[in-house]
Amino acid sequence: MTMQRDILVIDDELMVTRAVVKICSAEGITVAAADSAPEALRLLENSRFRLVLCDIMMSELDGFQFLEELDRRGIQTPVVMMTGYSTVENAVRSLTSTGAVDYISKPFTTDELLTVIRRSLRCSMLLDEAESAGLPRHGSMSYVPCPANYYRLGYVSWVLLEEEGTARIGVSDLFLKAAEGIRELELSLPGEDLVQGIPCAFATSLDGSVHGIICPMDGKILEVNADAQSNPSLVEKDPYFRGWLYRILPPNPENNLQWLST
């Protein structure tokens, strides 16, 4: 008996799973909860979920081991990591690991949680569509083809190393699609330093939710794409070329590249 639900939330902290269940149920999202990774794996055997919300720090199997186990079992459900021990390294690592599409740091508000869940659910849907259209789920999960020499952080952002030692960074088409239309784009100023794993721009979507765009690489902002700022739809139309966000000077790109995929 296979049953389809929207979300599986995994956390060894009962209060957290309860809160997530309550909020999501109120929003009409169907949720199942597990208090450990092994229990979640049992649930995943019998049911289908569109999204898994998983804590990183858990006693038996931690979030990263859970992702490995999913990969081993060939379960392709996208996973959003929750991290209480909110370090940039954890966040970036969770995005790099197979299966994790996004992360949210604890504690979060209802809006922050819903924004991430909705975006990730849509992302999961888009991935399903891509699969049914005959495209591979991993590797090129892009609508607009992502150029080959681009490095990506999860499905969120990309970076292109330029010959002069600078780098251009932008947001991926899948993230934009999942956010469903950008009304406003809040960008940082030239001269500021960006840190890999920390949001470098905030996009307000048409429904008013605010999406943080996680920066793929450390560096100082040399130039901000004024066109993108004044006309956010440009980013949606041409995310990989004219819709770039920043040109940065990365001090140590090699160090950052280990967490990026091509």
Partner: protein
């Protein structure tokens, strides 16, 4: 344990050596004394025997046997003489003081004949030493010394009327005198006893003196050092050894004190960073534990907040819960930032730009508090290699603190940046200066510009006096009094031990005068010239290690100020004076960041007047 004490070992060694020396001395002394006494007796016996010989010679020639008997008996009756006898060549006793022997034969192997007859053929001539013999007639009697005196044939003998000894006969007979050694032996024994007593008492007195001195000079200071080491080992780094002497142990004690001081300073720093590290681990643990309950609170409250849109009173209360929970989240975040204190990701950055960004962050707070912001930024500031985010956090922390200090009243916040060159010359104070024997020349009795000066004594022939040198490196406001110019014949000395402070064989590279030199503990040698108008000063280690270019940022407010008692604790975690406000970590984080950049942060504050935080970041990292 006792045997292992150095004082016992040393005393034992000295006593053993003395015992050995005195024993040898006593042995040879007794030997030579005995020899001298015996020689004296021998000489005396020889004289006696010669006297007997000459006394009886006339009677012999006349062959007056009765007179000879008389003479021999008379002489032999003397107390100091045991026996006098004369025997002829064939060993027959002719005359003797003991009449009973007369006419008896003497065994040629007997002790009196043995000397001449031992070789089989009788010898005709004997040395003095060979003529004497010491013997004991029986076990219980005292020793005797016998001396034989051969009576040689002479023309008067063979021409005498009485009877004729044939002229070819060489030895006619032997005069044998025996004298008792009772007195001599007694003397020898007495002097032996005296020497032994002398030796024993010398050894006893000497070991007492050596033991006392060793105890006084070595044992006590070593014991004091041991006690100090036990204290140090037990963690009492404030313990100091009292330095009472100038010998090696005194120097050891002084070096020990230096070492302890350095150790205690190092431990203080270690303690601080250790405290921060353990606090960091604690913070990380707390953050992890607290995040989950906080998640529940924040999700439920924000959920209720969404649902309570139609009810303004409930909504307002829920707003408070949500915003305060978000504040908790920020506190936890800052705890985690503190816990991480990662190696800064340094890049070239413009400090002014960082200040502008920090100001942008707190701008709305400025307008609310009616605070006037004055910025005095040096446009030509050199770029520094820093983690811009961390440094920005430092400025934000300091500015928020300043705003809190100003409070509800109006006030002003001044941010200044400038490039400074901190030359060690003219700024660096010499706090300790050691002579060769490690006496501190900075005694604190005389100050120059409010700083304890370096004291030295000069001496030129009979002229001597104290001078004091400016303790600031490169500054020359010395108090030289009436010291003559440093030249040949003038010496500079340590006031404590009179060790010379002149650098031997070295001269000022500027003016060629003699130079002085002293050591600053752990910071190398300071050399300088005292020639008027020269002012050459060299502190090699400081000159080579000094990082001279800094960017200095001052954040000044005219707020409530910080009481002096709180200043030392200011940069410790949870030292907040802001009551409910803040996390108590701001300045600890600030300190950690500045420290990670090899910079310094200092505070100047006066209650009611205001506070200045001064940050210096080296341009060369």
């Amino acid at each position: 344990m006792l045997n292992s004490k150095i004082s016992y070992k040393l005393t034992f060694g000295v006593v053993l050596t003395v015992l050995f020396a005195i024993s040898i001395f006593a042995y040879f002394n007794i030997q030579s004394e005995t020899k001298n006494l015996l020689a004296e007796v021998e000489r005396h016996a020889n004289q006696l025997s010669e006297a007997v010989k000459s006394d009886t010679e006339y009677d012999m020639l006349r062959n007056d046997r009765n007179r000879i008997h008389d003479s021999i008996r008379r002489i032999g009756a003397q107390e100091s003489i045991d026996r006098v006898r004369i025997f002829n060549k064939s060993g027959e006793i002719i005359y003797s003081s003991g009449s009973a022997e007369i006419g008896k034969m003497v065994d040629k192997q007997a002790e009196s004949c043995y000397r001449c007859h031992s070789a089989g053929k009788p010898l005709e001539h004997l040395e003095m030493a060979e003529r004497t013999r010491i013997f004991r007639p029986d076990q219980d009697s005292s020793r005797l010394l016998g001396i034989i005196n051969p009576i040689y044939n002479s023309p008067t003998c063979w021409t005498a009327a009485c009877h004729a000894h044939p002229s070819e006969q060489t030895v006619l007979g032997v005069l044998d005198v025996t004298i008792p050694l009772t007195d001599i032996d007694r003397n020898i024994r007495r002097s032996q006893v005296a020497i032994v007593i002398l030796a024993v008492s010398t050894i006893l007195i000497l070991s007492l003196i050596v033991g006392f001195l060793v105890r006084w000079w070595i044992d006590r200071p070593v014991q004091e050092l041991l006690t100090a080491m036990r204290h140090i080992a037990g963690g009492n780094l404030a313990y100091r050894v009292e330095v009472k002497r100038d010998d090696e142990l005194g120097m050891l004690a002084r070096s020990f004190n230096d070492m302890t001081e350095n150790l205690s300073q190092a431990r203080l720093q270690l303690f601080q960073s250790d405290k921060l590290a353990s606090l960091g681990r604690l913070a990380a643990g707390v953050a992890h534990e607290i995040n989950n309950p906080l998640t529940a609170v924040l999700t439920y409250s924000s959920y209720l907040q969404k649902r309570a849109h139609g009810q303004p009173d409930i909504h307002a209360d829920l707003d408070v819960i949500v915003s305060e929970t978000i504040r908790c989240r920020e506190i936890v975040k800052s705890l985690l930032d503190f816990a991480r204190q990662t190696v800064p990701k340094k890049r070239q950055a413009d400090i002014n730009e960082i200040i502008h960004r920090a100001v942008a962050v707190i701008e709305n707070q400025l307008s609310l508090g009616r605070v006037e912001l004055v910025m005095d930024l040096d446009e030509a500031l050199p770029r520094v290699t820093v983690d811009a985010n961390q440094i920005q956090q430092v400025f934000i922390n300091l500015m928020v603190n300043a705003l809190d200090a100003i409070g509800e009243d109006s006030g002003s916040l001044k941010v200044t940046s400038k490039a400074i060159t901190v030359c060690p010359k003219g700024t660096l104070q010499i706090k300790r200066a050691l002579c060769r024997k490690r006496h501190d020349l900075v005694d604190g009795k005389v100050q120059i510009n409010g700083k304890p000066a370096i004291g030295m004594r000069f001496r030129k022939k009979d002229l001597t006096g104290l001078i004091h040198l400016d303790p600031v490196y490169g500054s020359h406001e010395h108090l030289l009094d009436d010291m003559p110019p440093l030249e040949e014949g003038t010496d500079l000395l340590c006031p404590d031990c009179s060790a010379s402070l002149l650098a031997e064989g070295e001269a000022c590279p500027v003016c060629g005068s003699p130079i002085y030199a002293f050591e600053v503990p752990l910071k190398g040698l300071v050399q300088g010239c005292l020639q008027e108008g020269c002012g050459w000063h060299r502190w090699e280690q400081v000159d080579s290690e000094w990082n001279d270019e800094f960017v200095e940022v001052r954040v000044e407010d005219d707020g409530c100020g910080i009481p002096e008692t709180q200043i030392p604790k200011l940069f410790e975690p949870f030292a907040t004076t802001k009551g409910q406000k803040g996390t108590g970590l701001g300045l600890a984080v600030t300190w950690g960041i500045v420290d990670n950049h090899n910079g310094t942060i200092t505070v100047e504050s006066e209650v009611g007047v205001g506070t200045s935080f001064i940050i210096r970041i080296p341009v060369k990292s």
